[in-house]
């Protein structure tokens, strides 16, 4: 009996030890000079640092998109063979070759596609963490992260096909893939996120400006002109949300991804920064330059010393990018006014000229006729927002909301800027999700449609 007792006691001790093994195997995350463990990330400071990552990705997305849109539209004409041939890149965008299922072309747009989603996820995860802690800045960061996430969804809605997945990854969870959201659904989600941003009390004018103007842009995409005007009613002249870019190195300890230079990721930066600008790119392009290329509109500065002409708006990687400004408000109000304007109404023209006056540009006149008025309005937008990533969205709205024919909007006709394999402009109208979506998202098979 004594032996049995001893045996049972020993086994009991061992079993008790076995039961408490869970605590023994708990270890810290790997750490390093720059490596951050998940515990320290799950703090207010950690949440804010994730928010900063969202802002950084937003800036990168804007940088990549403004470049991509410039090439697909008439903002930047082709770089001729020989000028970028050695970089290995070819002129798929400006040839308007459809990007679907072509990995080499996908590689070009996947940059901005990737950044928009990284922006969404970082902003969302930052919000999940920040909401756990009480702080005077809590509402600001929650509001700002909503606005930034909404801006990313807005960019996807404006430029990518109908049917973009908006998958999610909770901070302490697994990837949840989604199927594609239609363009309309993305605009509505953007509106909802901007509304969430605006519902949180704080006094940050830049964040409020981004949310108000962003919401208005989304409402424009939904054909809700008066709602858009209402959304920007509280924006005042001088309000703005801007993004900062620099060519300086980050402080010691910053990684290779720390630097944030405008157009830094678009290959040979200087070549792109001095990209060729042409009048009537692909037949439908604007006359960016007056006769004889002079004088120029100050909104689209051009280097007049080179042939062919090259844009002179973004010539440095260090700049302050205007993502949401008073001009946006004026253009939204002008468009809404024009939408209801009778033949003799001039409010819309007055607003356009009010905007022109801010740069000392002489007033323009009513060209007469609805179509010409719309053309004027969108020409004004094109000049104001040159290389700011809005031109493709304008193309799409012209087709979708103003019933213009694609062949009258997008570059078309003979294309003679490559070595000869492409004879005419292609038919790409939107950007496509990256090839990774087709390969690795089990809920995504293709876009709902690839029309504007």
């Amino acid at each position: 009996m004594r032996k049995l007792s001893r045996a049972l006691l020993s086994i009991g001790v061992i079993l008790i030890s076995a039961c408490s093994l869970d605590g023994l195997v708990s270890v810290d995350d790997p750490e390093g000079e720059r490596e951050i463990d998940r515990e320290s990330l799950n703090t207010l400071a950690g949440g804010i640092s994730l928010y900063h990552n969202a802002v950084g990705n937003l800036a990168r997305g804007v940088s990549a998109l403004s470049h991509d849109v410039g090439f697909l539209t008439d903002e930047m004409a082709a770089l001729r063979i020989g000028e970028i041939g050695s970089t290995g890149r070819t002129n798929f965008y400006d040839a308007r070759i459809k990007t679907e299922l072509s990995s080499s072309v996908q590689g070009l747009t996947s940059d901005s596609y990737s950044y928009w989603h990284s922006t969404r996820t970082s902003a969302s995860q930052a919000r999940q963490i920040i909401s756990r802690f009480e702080s005077d800045l809590k509402n600001f960061y929650l509001s700002a992260s909503y606005a930034i996430e909404a801006q990313a969804v807005l960019a996807l809605a404006e430029n990518f096909c109908s049917g973009v997945p908006l998958s999610t990854v909770p901070f302490e969870g697994d990837v949840e893939y989604t199927s594609g959201f239609s363009t309309e659904a993305m605009f509505e989600q953007a509106v909802a996120l901007f509304d969430s941003s605006l519902s949180l009390a704080h006094d940050s004018i830049p964040v409020l400006t981004l949310a108000r103007i962003g919401k208005a842009r989304a409402l424009l995409g939904l054909n809700r002109y008066q709602d858009a005007v209402a959304a920007v009613a509280d924006v005042e002249q001088g309000d703005a949300f801007t993004l900062s870019y620099t060519q300086a190195n980050p402080p010691s300890g910053g990684g290779t991804t720390g630097g944030r230079t405008f157009w830094t990721n678009q290959g040979t930066v200087n070549i792109y920064r001095s990209s060729i600008i042409e009048n009537m790119e692909g037949l439908n392009g604007l006359l960016w330059m007056a006769s004889g290329n002079l004088p120029q509109d100050p909104r689209v500065p051009i280097n007049t010393t080179t042939t062919p002409r090259k844009q002179n708006k973004f010539t440095s990687g260090t700049l302050t990018f205007p993502l949401a400004t008073w001009i946006d408000v004026l253009m939204i109000r002008a468009e809404a006014s024009l939408e209801n304007a009778g033949p003799s109404d001039t409010e819309w023209l007055d607003i356009i000229n009010q905007a022109r006056a801010t740069r000392g540009i002489v007033d323009t006149t009513d060209p007469g006729g609805p179509e010409a008025r719309v053309n004027l309005l969108f020409r004004e937008r094109a000049f104001w927002f040159y290389l700011q990533g809005t031109r493709l969205s304008d193309y799409r709205r012209l087709v979708r909301q103003y019933n213009r024919n694609v062949s009258t909007i997008y570059p078309t006709g003979p294309y003679n800027k490559t070595s000869g394999s492409i004879l005419n402009y292609g038919d790409a109208l939107v950007f496509m999700p990256s090839i990774s979506e087709f390969n690795y998202n089990p809920k995504f098979t293709s876009c709902i449609n690839i029309n504007p």
Partner: protein
């Protein structure tokens, strides 16, 4: 399952027959299966019932029942009297008293209850009563190792004269009647020997015998976490290496050398280089993981080494301290070691010492060798640039691109003595070992030192070149690669009493690896490439007008590895055993690189320029704690047919690593410290993982010839998610068929054991694979830099360990008068849930920057199949000569059975190595050449003129599918041993980068277009390879006993050995194992060349025992 049911039925039938017990005493041969525990005064209680049998038979049965040895001290004792005994659970003392009642003899138990001495009763006569006797003395040693055989039984046929050998293998048998006798020598695991010897009156006859290990040692004890077990009881094939045997085959500098010399089927050793300190890659039964490590676990005295670099640190262990090495393959690794054991386990046991007076062992070895084989000639095109007319390297590709005009082809022949960077490798090893102790304490201490000076040397041409530049070359740069190792190992065993003992062990090894390099980087500000037009016959390669950058660099790596172990064993009762093991393995590595630059010109004094200083410290600690208990229950009447040994254990292990590194650049001239320099880089990292597990295991034996080993293990760990199934069951069976009554007595198949096993093991992911990784960084926001956090790797919370299931089937047999032993094993493993990096769709937003993010998913499946054959034939077996032939064969197959839905085939490491479902890990692939056409007629092929297939074609596997080992061992007069070994590899593909024609075709515009096409397609080097290697030749002389006595030595052994003696290949070149891989070109200017193969070396070693 048919057999166990049958036996259980038989067992039940036997139980129902009460008289059966008395009729089958021969079955009661267990040494611990007593009815009740031993009584220290009256002996164990036993049950015995026998009628009309001799006293000798009764004593045999008692011996079988108790495990006690029965000895008699006089030849006059006759035990043929017929008696009957019938005792139920009575003390042995009582039984012996009854047995010898009425005789002149008495049976006396020894104090330790291990021996029964039958002697003449006092007053009835005694030793020496018969004065016509003599004595037989002698020593029994192992024929392979020369080590003493302890506990061998020496008896005189027909008489009850028996004794056993002591710790030195010696014995003395007194009172042997004068005349001729047949002396029988038996020992567990050795072939029995019968010798005739004539004893003279009052004289001592000497009988020294080298015992030959039984070909198939089923009684051999192997180490398991549930206690030591006989091989017979396990259904898996565990290979056991005796270091003393291996030392007689080949020079041994470390554990990897032992594994390679042992030629174990299923174990593949691939050296990465022949230079000192270069680790080898060890693969046991193939590669199961696509992304994770395929290195086996290493366990020393029960303590797990850190899996990262474990096999490399294993080689820091002093090989003289090793008692045995066991290779645990396949299913047996599962329940034994569970998590992370999927790649097999190397179990090392160190020496614990033998009780007795202090024994010294002095071992010294000196190796001398050099690499051999013809090195390939290298060519380089040279010409003039079309646009600038400057001289430049001008290859076929340059010409095809119209960049230059080739005017000559430089020939670089590294076989030219002037360019030879391979000299003599020397290695000294000295070790001093001391062991001894008493019944209460034993010790074993070993100290050793080893110096290895690598074969790499500064080329003669460099001496000339630096002399011209007036650059002094320090002496230690002439042989730039050296390694020193110092080791101290000690084990102390405390044995307070029979019930418990504790072993304290410490192994400390310090290794210093030094790599120095002096090199000319090229002309400062001169043309690119540097203006050397190397003509190997003249030394006319320096442009005297140019300045040259000379780099001196030193990269010492100091590693201190320590292992501290405590092993305790407590036996509260004879049936219950508790073992505990605790230990820490610590490793500290310090690297301190220094690179200094000076600028030199012919006729002008050199001046110092900038330098770089690098410092790195790595620490690793691996903690192990284990407890195990096993119990041997009393089964009463079932004892004769059933054995049970259940065991339960828990273990815990944790690994923690840290790394701190820093670098200072742009050191000012003359500065060497980390404090100077104008820019710096610093980093640190830490990492930890922990695993805990419990297991339940039982050995079930039926009729002592059918065994089952059943167990299950469960692990939890820091990198194991709750959703993972981490239970690892195991089942194995071993059946000694030749012991069955139906097995015919024959000399063709004397023994046959069939075995089968099924088990599971796993490979864990890393914690960061599950949780993901974040790094801190900066973002430029609102005009200032602010801290941010970025994800750098996406985690996968649902990740599970890779799960390996392995099935093993085989047999062992001794055939043809026990002259030939055959072991055959087929192993089939399926590694499911294999971890594969898979892209995450970018819509998830966890991308690391602009690209796509990847994370591990359990989607692939890898299958390994191995057929392992070992064959030992004793061709000659006489009193004075043994000739043994060994052959082993491994056929391997590896296949990625499934890669995962949506996972595209991908390349790894080497650009030609590709992972694709249906093909092996590490298969060599290439795109096919459809044709070529020199369209522009310029005589060279451009990339556009070569037509390639879009898809890749499989060429072959990098691992040899067929491996064989051959050995011949001859022992003469127990003094001379001759041994030689060969190994053969075939059916594998290597990328032989230095095929002459390949090099020419890339460089020579006049090379045939067909060769240019192959070169252009980068396929020249990939080809099927086979080779035969003469691994070793060894002659060992064991100094005989009479000479030893004169020099007062216990033993003295002298060996002359050759290693890596020759290589026959089906291509022109060197060792394919190091010829392929990363080295793709000679740097003709610098003295860095090909990866160096292992040297052909000769060794002289002395092993001296005092």
């Amino acid at each position: 399952m048919k057999m166990p049911v049958q036996y259980i039925f038989i067992a039940l039938f036997c139980l129902s027959t009460s008289s059966l017990t008395a009729q089958m005493p021969v079955l009661l041969t267990g040494n611990r299966l007593w009815d009740a525990p031993a009584d220290s005064t009256a002996g164990p209680r036993i049950t015995i019932s026998m009628k009309n049998v001799s006293m000798e038979r009764v004593l045999d049965s008692i011996s079988s029942l108790t495990g006690m040895t029965v000895l008699s001290n006089s030849a006059d004792i006759k035990l043929n009297k017929l008696v009957s005994v019938d005792f139920k659970s009575r003390p042995l003392e009582e039984i012996l008293g009854s047995l010898f009642a009425g005789t002149n003899y008495e049976g006396v138990m020894s104090k330790n209850s291990k021996t029964i001495l039958v002697k003449l009763r006092s007053g009835k006569g005694g030793a020496g009563q018969n004065s016509e006797t003599g004595t037989i003395v002698g020593q029994m040693v192992d024929s392979a190792s020369g080590n003493p055989v302890v506990g061998a039984s020496i008896s005189i046929a027909g008489r009850n004269l028996v004794t056993t050998t002591d710790k030195d293998g010696r014995f003395s048998l007194a009172n042997v009647p004068v005349g001729s006798h047949q002396v029988s020598v038996k020992s567990f695991g050795y072939r029995a020997v019968l010798r005739t010897i004539t004893v003279s009156k009052g004289a001592a006859q000497t009988l020294n015998i080298s015992l030959v290990a039984l070909p198939t040692s089923l009684n051999e004890v192997v180490t398991t976490v549930t206690g030591n077990k006989r091989r017979l009881e396990l259904g898996t094939d565990i290979a056991r290496i005796d270091p003393d045997v291996i030392r007689r085959r080949a020079p041994v500098a470390n554990v990897t050398d032992m594994l390679e010399a042992a030629q174990i089927p299923g174990v593949l050793i691939t050296p990465t280089s022949g230079e000192p300190g270069s680790p080898s890659r060890i693969r046991i039964r193939g590669m199961g993981s696509i992304y994770k490590s395929n290195d086996p676990l290493v366990i020393i005295d029960g303590v797990w080494l850190d899996a990262e670099g474990g096999t490399a640190r294993m080689d820091a262990l002093d090989p003289e301290m090793i008692e045995s090495i066991e290779i645990v393959r396949g299913p047996s690794a599962a329940t034994e070691y569970g998590q992370d054991a999927a790649n097999g386990v190397i179990v090392i046991t160190t020496k614990k010492g033998v009780a007795g007076p202090a024994r010294w062992n002095i071992n010294y070895s000196y190796d001398n060798g050099r690499p051999y084989g013809t090195k390939p000639i290298v060519y380089k095109g040279w010409g003039t640039a079309i646009t600038s007319e400057r001289q430049m390297f001008c290859t076929v590709a340059h010409v095809a691109n119209r960049e230059c005009t080739q005017d000559s082809l430089l020939v670089f022949d590294p076989n030219n003595p002037l360019l030879n960077d391979e000299g003599t490798e020397t290695n000294h090893r000295l070790s001093l070992a001391l062991d001894g102790g008493s019944s209460a304490m034993r010790y074993s201490i070993t100290a050793s030192a080893q110096t290895d000076i690598g074969a790499r040397q500064l080329r003669p041409i460099d001496f000339i070149r630096y002399r011209l530049l007036d650059v002094s070359v320090p002496g230690d740069y002439k042989k730039p690669r050296t390694q020193d190792r110092r080791s101290i190992s000690a084990n102390f065993t405390l044995i307070p009493d029979d019930k418990w003992n504790v072993v304290f062990g410490v192994q400390t090894n310090q290794t210093k690896l030094e790599s120095k390099l002096i090199a000319m980087e090229g002309a400062v500000g001169g043309p690119n490439p540097p203006d050397w037009r190397l003509d190997t016959d003249t030394v006319n390669f320096l442009n005297r007008a140019n300045s040259y950058s000379i780099i001196r660099s030193s990269d010492p790596v100091n590693t201190l590895t320590s292992l501290y172990t405590v092993q305790g064993n407590w036996r509260p009762t004879e049936r219950w055993n508790v073992q505990g093991t605790g230990g820490i393995e610590r490793s500290t590595g310090e690297t301190g690189g220094l690179s200094l630059q000076s600028i030199c010109r012919v006729g002008v004094p050199c001046f110092d320029s900038t330098g770089t200083r690098r410092q790195e410290t790595s620490n690793s600690s691996a903690y192990t704690m284990r407890f195990m208990t096993n119990y041997t229950p009393s089964l009463g009447k079932l004892t004769s047919i059933l054995e049970l040994r259940p065991a339960f254990g828990i273990d815990y292990r944790k690994v923690a690593r840290s790394n701190l590194s820093g670098q200072r650049n742009n050191l000012a001239p003359g500065e060497t410290g980390m404090e100077s320099g104008t820019s710096s880089v610093a980093d640190y990292s830490s990492y930890a993982n922990a695993t805990a597990g419990w297991y339940l295991n039982s050995t079930i034996g039926l009729f002592r010839r059918l065994y089952f080993d059943i167990g299950v293990r469960q692990d939890i760990g820091s990198a194991i998610t709750s959703s993972s199934s981490t239970r690892y069951p195991k089942l194995s069976t071993s059946w000694l068929a030749s012991d069955e009554s139906f097995w015919p007595v024959n000399n063709f198949v004397g023994m046959l054991r069939l075995r089968a096993a099924l088990g599971y093991a796993a490979v864990q992911p890393e914690i960061s694979d599950i949780r993901g990784r974040y790094v801190s960084d900066y973002e430029f926001i609102d005009g200032v830099w602010v801290r941010t956090t970025k994800p750098t790797a996406a985690g996968n919370p649902a990740l599970k360990p890779e799960r390996a299931a392995e099935f093993e089937l085989g047999f062992d047999t001794d055939i043809i008068y026990d002259r030939v032993s055959v072991g055959l094993t087929y192993a089939h493993s399926i590694n499911s849930n294999n971890l594969v990096l898979r892209q995450i769709a970018q819509s998830a937003g966890v991308n690391t920057g602009r690209g796509s993010s990847e994370r591990f998913e359990n989607v692939a499946k890898v299958i390994n199949r191995n057929l392992e054959l070992s064959l030992d034939g004793r061709v000659i077996e006489t009193e004075n000569m043994y000739l043994v032939l060994n052959y082993n064969l491994t056929l391997s197959e590896n296949k990625v059975a499934r890669l995962g839905d949506g996972v595209s085939p991908f390349t790894t490491g080497d650009r030609a190595s590709r992972i694709e479902a249906g093909y092996p890990i590490g298969g060599i692939w290439a795109r096919g050449i459809m044709g070529y056409n020199d369209e522009n007629g310029d005589g060279v092929l451009s990339a556009q003129e070569l037509i390639m297939t879009d898809s890749f074609s499989y060429i072959g596997w990098q691992q040899p599918r067929y491996r064989a080992g051959y050995g011949v061992s001859l022992t003469v007069n127990n003094q001379w041993t001759f041994d030689t070994r060969f190994s053969q590899r075939s059916k594998y593909v290597q990328r032989l980068q230095f095929q002459d024609s390949y090099i020419i075709a890339r460089q020579d515009v006049n090379a045939p277009l067909s060769d240019q096409a192959l070169a252009q397609a980068d396929q020249f080097g990939s080809r099927p390879v086979s080779d035969i290697e003469w691994r070793s030749l060894s002659v060992t002389y064991q100094v005989p006993q009479n000479l030893l006595q004169k020099i007062r030595a216990r033993s003295l052994q002298v060996s002359l050995q050759g290693d890596n003696l020759n290589l026959w290949t089906n291509y022109v070149g060197r060792d394919p194992r190091v010829n392929a891989g990363s080295a793709t070109s000679y740097d003709m200017l610098r003295d860095t060349g090909l990866i160096m193969p292992a040297s052909r070396k000769f060794s002289l070693s002395l092993r001296w025992g005092l």
